[in-house]
Symmetry: C2
């Protein structure tokens, strides 16, 4: 079997560390593994299969000889190094939003549009976390009928803001118990016992960048340029796993039976919907694993051809690290 | 000014205690105040304007001479005593859901349908907490155009489950910090760092009793028997104040300007929607006061005639105690 020289760019962040874990868990065919981060992280080391690997500085010539770069950085760093990565001949699978909407860049959920991988020109983008989780839950409906619209409200965990999110929440929990005041650093407001309906930046229509992603990325991934999505994104005091309440408007009427059947056969998705046993997706059960859970499936009351559902998934794993590694695996399969 | 003999039934619970506070704050014209609760609470006492009042047992003959009974109990207790209360000639303003959908019983949000008070036959019901908060935020749109449908996802605080809710959340926060296991008592699952998409009991269509209330009670309060509401109710790890993400479908197209104007003039509502200053409703700022806050107002992307918004209100106050006391005040005005 062919083996690959892989680098993680932004290896010390929440997503980078999770990529390392996922590579190990699935036993990715590695020839070598390079961990890259900013100057500040040089000196740190991380473990892969019990072996210590030193973090190296991400410089413009750090990508020579690399086959695949898994990008776990923010937009600025991704933009800074994209040309170097592609120039060195490596495939850049980027988790930032820097290139997601570029025409030349496939935006891929491997269970949905693996065929788009072939069209890459050196960069493949990993979609937004809430988008991945929602689309995986909704995709079985799409297999049965074109989808016209979705109305989604998200419940997003603090780890979506990086490794510092859960640290801030835990610190605020302690302060809450001790009756101390909160001085938020990661979020604009205290998040313990609070809800913040603002993730990203606002556009002129009053939508946030995070809310726009579900429509824009959904259209690209599903190849549905007409798809309409209203989304409200909310940060909640949960450490890990995003949840989304979604109403889906389909072109054809769908029975709950065929919807459930399609969901049961969907790779990457677990139908978890037995209300007689109080079984429904919750962060409590969907964290630290790779499946998206879907439940609370019912006929919508507003749309004649509508289905409402509730889904939950670990946004650091399937919403980021796992999806990126799965893109790499699919690319390996295609190249094999 | 005429003064009234008022009793609180279920005075020692979260809503009962808040009713006592609200009566004091607005200086309700009291002739006497009687605090009633179950046998277990006899011996306790509560304070009204610095004066200690002993809690008495709620018995069938406890309502003689009372003019207004504010009901802060569950359905079973409300049903047990309704006949006695009405038989004694008192007005029963009940916060339970026992009588809300009865034809003879007005269901009232004083800022929306005060005129329904006159039609009472001894009982007036206080609507569900999420319904009150949502409808107050949506009512300005209704004043501009008939409303055809709403799609709502709720973010409901633990205090909605009574005084034990916040105690359980705080206990679980401590356990979380200490790395201890949780043994939930109030909720079906741990609520700290979790989301539970299940409040009330499930019907055959897969909706919960809590979710059905927004459609059923909304139809009755707005006198719109055709109103369609899809609702998803979720318990979140927040101590106080419910939030709701709502998309409203109106018959006529509405401009954001006229919507904002109508909201600004709406009694009981505060338009809090300056995204340039990161101002939007949050539990952090809407708790322990009586206004419903509304923000994140924008044109919906799915419905041509749609408005999306985010609202937040203290469900123990405006969602329960304050609304009940305001019904009593309106009744006093009508009777004066």
């Amino acid at each position: 079997m062919k083996r690959y020289n892989v680098a993680i760019l932004g290896a010390t962040g929440a997503v980078g560390r999770e990529m390392l874990k996922v590579l190990e868990e699935i036993d990715f065919p590695l020839a070598s593994l390079t961990l890259l981060a900013s100057k500040n992280s040089v000196g740190k080391s991380l473990f892969y299969k019990g072996k210590q690997i030193k973090v190296r500085e991400a410089t413009h010539d750090a990508f020579k000889g690399i086959d695949i770069v898994l990008g776990a950085s923010g937009n600025a760093v991704a933009k800074e190094f994209a040309r170097d990565i592609v120039g060195s001949g490596a495939l850049f699978i980027d988790n930032s939003s820097a290139f997601r909407m570029d025409k030349d860049v496939p935006l891929v959920i491997p269970e949905i549009n693996p065929f788009d991988i072939k069209g890459h020109h050196g960069i493949i983008s990993n979609p937004n976390c809430s988008t991945i989780i929602t689309l995986l839950a909704v995709y079985p409906l799409f297999r049965l009928s074109p989808i016209k619209a979705m109305i989604a409200s998200t419940y997003q965990a603090v780890s979506g803001a990086g490794a510092k999110g859960p640290i801030e929440l835990e610190r605020e929990m302690k302060e809450e118990i001790e009756g101390k005041e909160h001085v938020p650093e990661v979020f604009l407001y205290p998040i313990v016992s609070n809800l913040i309906p603002h993730i990203g930046s606002f556009d002129e229509e009053g939508y946030t960048s995070e809310e726009n992603k579900m429509q824009n990325e959904g259209r690209k991934i599903l190849h549905c340029p007409e798809l309409k999505v209203t989304c409200t994104c909310v940060r909640v005091p949960v450490k890990r796993s995003h949840c989304i309440s979604v109403t889906v408007l389909t072109e054809k009427p769908l029975s709950l039976e065929e919807v459930r059947e399609a969901m049961e056969s969907q790779e990457g998705l677990r139908l978890y919907d037995d209300i007689s046993k109080n079984e429904y997706p919750m962060p409590l059960i969907t964290s630290d694993q790779d499946l998206v859970y879907v439940g609370r499936i019912r006929k919508d009351r507003v749309f004649d051809n509508g289905i409402s559902l509730w889904c939950s998934g670990d946004q650091v794993r399937k919403g980021a690290a796992t999806n990126a590694v799965m893109i790499a695996m699919k690319w390996v399969e295609i190249n094999a």
